[in-house]
Symmetry: C2
């Protein structure tokens, strides 16, 4: 295993400690619950937005805490859901009179932890809602999921509800906005290499020298099929052929286009993928109104990328364009 | 080779085309000279700041073009200096009454191209200056260099002169500021894996399963020595032991601390490195005033990282804190 790591069991807390040390004015780390929160949270004048997930997907979600985005992120260990009592304690810490919106990507473990955490918080009389994200078109059910998985398209939900919450929107309106964005968002990914979890110390699965996992999950779960590695443009074509008909995105639509790196792929290659996707969408009469090329939701050190489309309308586009600050990415 | 690439000889132009397509309001691509420039450049009220280098180091430098940063970047092919006539044409296109500042990292090929390009521009009566960056403490001379190499610390020079140029500073003052920042900036890197150039299709050098290249260059050039892979904290200690005494940085100093990923290392690991560096500096009485944890200057898909320190004073800190926009990183 060639990684920067000390004792693998401290991988997550050491990363979180580093994150808080690097951003002392804006972020606070609460070791007892593995929690990263905005230094100014909870703010009584807004709904708090919280997301949890396994670690190993950074910047998701601990590095998406900031103005106009998440108020807190409550991660589990690498590729493991956060404990339900951490979800509960996080919800209590972030509680405001306007409520707490809990975002969950659709994985069975995460959903269980959040359902239980919410139930405990509700028993305390707190006002909470859960919104589930499931943008991945690759498979219906998978290794860790009943139904579609939540992957990089999650960021558009965060950005939209984060912006609306900053403007004072109420909890029920945030649920409406979040569902609306999730409903017009579709993603598909491709893995070129396997990732290596620090505690395992070896690749999570085997991929041949000329094989790619088409529709890969962000924990290395199998996708639709193993394919031969082809040139970049052909890979983009295949991703678009899976994503575009799924909604479907149609001629005349304007979209946000995200090319998300999975952790081990340099940004140069992401822009090369972006180029062809943008051109192919133009040929289909689909106009790219907003572009996102970066790492948003990774799978440790996996080489690979995902492609996300969001169908824009004026409300969504305005929310996506609102000011936001996060440690790693411009939003 | 497991990369997103079409014909390797189109790797750079396709990436640049994607970059311009993704940022149509702010960037313009001039294919004739491999040039990325601000859409609003040249602005007659400011000095234009231009940097060129080999490609493969993205975001350096084509993704550092924007407000308060570079006005243009003129890249060569992967790990190859830009042709001198591209430097000349870029300088002509960016010429303003206040002049053009050409930034060059210290590699023999880049310096030759920029010296010749400048000479041709000067013969046309243009006002130009060259500023050379050489922040890498690893080696004195190297495979492509007489004297120290310019690596990720380059970004602090760009940010400082970019901010000052935006505020209307004259060419001679930008030279003063750039030299001052370069003089207090030191970097050292470590490579865990080799990188694979698209046109070569195989790793550029060999590293054993438990070997690291300590002091590696951003083209995979040898550093100080091959070492055994140790835990992350010990690697940080070794980097600090090389960087801190070199200026030296002393108790009472306040610094900017950058942990830069080399392309294949996820941001989670970078924050883990940051944590220990921040703590060790505090033990030495050195206070971190500004933090940078991200990919700034990569070596294609190499796993690894570099550590940079900049000794801050009020002038440098104010310039580093000035507003700036770039496609990939918050600055």
């Amino acid at each position: 295993m060639k990684k920067f790591v000390n004792d693998p069991k401290n991988f997550v807390p050491e990363m979180l400690e580093g994150l808080a040390l690097a951003h002392p004015d804006t972020l606070r780390y609460v070791p007892a619950y593995n929690l990263i929160m905005r230094a100014d949270a909870p703010r009584t004048d807004k709904v708090s937005i919280v997301q949890g997930s396994g670690s190993g997907h950074e910047p998701a979600h601990v590095m998406v805490v900031g103005r106009g985005l998440l108020d807190a992120a409550c991660p589990g260990d690498v590729f493991a859901a956060p404990p339900m009592d951490y979800v509960y304690e996080t919800t209590k810490l972030l509680a405001t009179p306007k409520g707490v919106l809990l975002l969950v990507n659709n994985y069975t473990g995460d959903r269980m932890a959040f359902d239980m955490g919410k139930e405990m918080a509700d028993a305390d009389g707190l006002r909470t809602e859960i919104l589930t994200v499931n943008d991945d078109v690759a498979v219906t059910d998978s290794l860790y999921t009943v139904g579609r998985r939540g992957v990089a398209g999650n960021f558009f939900v965060i950005k939209a509800v984060g912006a609306a919450a900053e403007q004072g929107a109420e909890l029920d309106d945030l649920i409406r906005i979040g569902r609306k964005v999730n409903d017009v968002t579709r993603t598909m990914g491709v893995g070129l290499t396997a990732c290596t979890p620090p505690a395992k110390g070896s690749p999570l699965f085997e991929l041949g020298a000329d094989e790619i996992e088409f529709g890969v999950g962000i924990h290395g779960e199998p996708g639709r099929e193993r394919r031969r590695l082809t040139d970049a443009d052909a890979i983009v074509d295949a991703l678009l052929d899976a994503v575009v008909p799924d909604l479907p995105y149609k001629s005349g639509d304007r979209v946000a286009l995200m090319i998300n790196g999975l952790g081990g792929t340099p940004v140069s290659e992401l822009y090369l993928l972006y180029r062809h996707a943008h051109q192919r969408l133009a040929e289909r009469g689909i106009r790219v109104g907003r572009s996102y090329v970066n790492e948003y939701c990774t799978s440790l050190d996996m080489a690979g990328a995902s492609l996300t489309l969001v169908r824009l309308d004026d409300e969504i586009e305005t929310l996506l364009a609102a000011p936001a600050d996060a440690p790693v990415n411009p939003f």
